[in-house]
């Protein structure tokens, strides 16, 4: 059995505090609200060049810089930076840790507060309320207003980040000039909920989880959380990508010995699992996966996805990847068709890639050109 893993160290994140708190879809008000965020580039005098990047399930606000905890490069450095598709020489880029996250925004790992906003001297843990993608977006809206920005030139995100983009465009259409939902869907499918449930079940089954109160004895449910990550990681890749990267190769052996054989792919997944638990909170994982499962934009608008966008002036760029089976192209096409039905201005490309869902994070030149062209077009039209 591996040695117990202590909770990851506290890092001082840049945060905006909102004492008035946030009213959630579940009916609760959470106060105060903290939104941890990072910005890149410079806000122009007209405050018209802001681009909000929304991160995915296990991402965070460190989109284009070395991560303070892991020391690894930002998760979207191929997209965000000087001269990149989201050009920080031209745009003021904002990325916030989602509500319910574990990198400084209000979430299960932060101190629990009562209705008056008084700290209770313990983390929220599983007492953290059930939140939705729309709650995450409302928290980001507060940050954007706090930064003095009336309209975002662009809101961009992949996977769960794409869900937030769709929610932004549907909930605050006047605030969004250009929306780029990438490798995403307007609802979380039964298959995706099922995979999430496997991950949650693994966490629940770990004795170290202790009904969510693992913070009491300074441990984390590392085994459960790492299994959750391993399962999820498989869904981010394609069969072809796994074959290309690992095939049936063995670790340190050329043939099966029937003793302690370890396939390369096993070793890779274990590594993914064990590094993940050092940077992510298990209760956050439970909270955020649940928020994704709740997501159904059409249901929020009387069952008709098009009515979520009726009359919108927002320009859309939708992109999917051909080998993504977690958020398949058909889901993106459904978004595009709903946008067409709403007579919205929309671009759509399906990028040919064998890298699975992960492709949106990787080096895909066609995708980068298309996204960069879309944002540059938005900027030209606004006069940035």
């Amino acid at each position: 059995m591996p040695a117990p893993i202590a909770p990851f160290p506290q890092v001082d994140h840049q945060r905006a505090l909102f004492p008035e708190g946030l009213a959630l879809d579940c009916g609760m008000v959470i106060r105060p609200l903290a939104v941890a965020y990072r910005t890149y580039g410079t806000l122009n005098a007209a405050r018209s060049n802001a681009v909000l990047v929304c991160h995915a399930l296990t991402g965070d606000q460190y989109v284009a810089e070395r991560h303070p905890l892991t020391g690894r490069p930002g998760w979207w450095e191929s997209i965000v930076g000087p001269g990149k598709p989201i050009d920080t020489d031209r745009f003021f880029v904002i990325c916030a840790n989602v509500l319910g996250g574990c990198m400084g925004s209000t979430g299960p790992r932060e101190e629990m507060t009562d209705a008056e906003g008084r700290g209770l001297g313990r983390p929220w843990g599983t007492d953290f309320p059930n939140i939705t993608i729309r709650d995450m977006v409302r928290a980001q809206k507060k940050l954007v207003e706090h930064l003095g920005i009336r309209r975002l030139l662009g809101v961009v995100g992949g996977s769960m980040g794409g869900m937030q983009v769709l929610e932004w465009a549907a909930t605050f259409p006047e605030t969004v000039f250009g929306a780029a939902p990438i490798a995403t869907a307007a609802y979380h499918s039964a298959q995706n909920i099922a995979f999430h449930e496997v991950g949650r079940a693994a966490i629940h089954a770990d004795p170290d989880w202790k009904g969510g109160r693992y913070w009491e004895d300074g441990r984390v449910p590392a085994r459960g959380l790492s299994v959750a990550r391993m399962v999820a990681h498989i869904t981010y890749l394609s069969e072809k990508a796994l074959t290309r990267k690992f095939g049936r190769r063995l670790r340190g052996a050329s043939a099966v010995t029937f003793l302690e054989d370890v396939f390369e792919v096993e070793s890779y997944l274990r590594h993914q699992g064990s590094t993940f638990v050092r940077r992510f909170d298990a209760n956050s994982y439970l909270t955020i996966t649940r928020a994704m499962d709740y997501f159904d934009l059409a249901a929020e608008h009387g069952g008709d996805l098009a009515s979520a966008f009726r009359g919108t002036a927002t320009r859309f760029f939708v992109a999917s990847f051909s080998s993504d089976w977690l958020f398949p192209t058909e889901e993106s096409r459904a978004i595009v068709r709903a946008l067409n039905a709403a007579a919205a201005n929309v671009s759509f490309v399906e990028i040919a890639s064998d890298k699975g869902h992960d492709a949106f994070l990787l080096d895909e030149p066609d995708f980068h050109r298309a996204l960069g062209g879309f944002l540059a077009g938005c900027a030209d039209r606004v006069g940035v």
Binding site: V318, V336, A343, V346, S347, I351, A352, G373, F374, A376
Partner: protein, 214 residues
Amino acid sequence: MDARTPDSIRYVAKNMRLDLRLIAEMIPAGAKVLDIGCGDGALLAHLTAEKGADARGIEIDMAAATQAVAQGLAVIHGDADHDLAFYPDGAFDYVVLSRTLQAVERPREVLRQMLRIGRHAIVSFPNFGHWLVRWQLLWTGRMPMTETWHRPWHETPNIHPCTIRDFFDLCALDGYVVEQWLAVDERGLKAPWKRSVSLANLFGEQALFQLRRG
């Protein structure tokens, strides 16, 4: 509607095919346009830059669609047979289908959709009634191979060829009003047979029609 036109769009607009220029001439400033089979977006770019149009496109070829999107144009990857049904009635002033009608699965349905979602339809297609096509079939007994019809029968995407006369008949059958039409040569230059359908059908390599619902 848009305050400024991106430079990339101006660049694409300059390099437009001649037949697209003829189509562009038919479209008034500020119109809402859908270009089906828009390629890399040359017509869209022209209409956006020169006419202040709200121009959008559908393109079946992924590389071309990506190219158009990268220029900042509103183009979706899709096709005439499957994607038109999702647009609302009367969403556009003009719906354009250039050199594509003969390659779609259901031309009659595509036309019906075009005139459902647009007030006007602009359609261009290669004329199978051209004298060279007729002559080759008559003289050699084989499928014609011309500058326009240049792929062998087993490889051609053009599964629904028609003549100018055939097209007039279809318009009459479905009650469409032909607002204007012309026959053009392969490079898109206007041909002088406008007064006579028979002559146009014999000498026009391409046909260009503007229709509306009856």
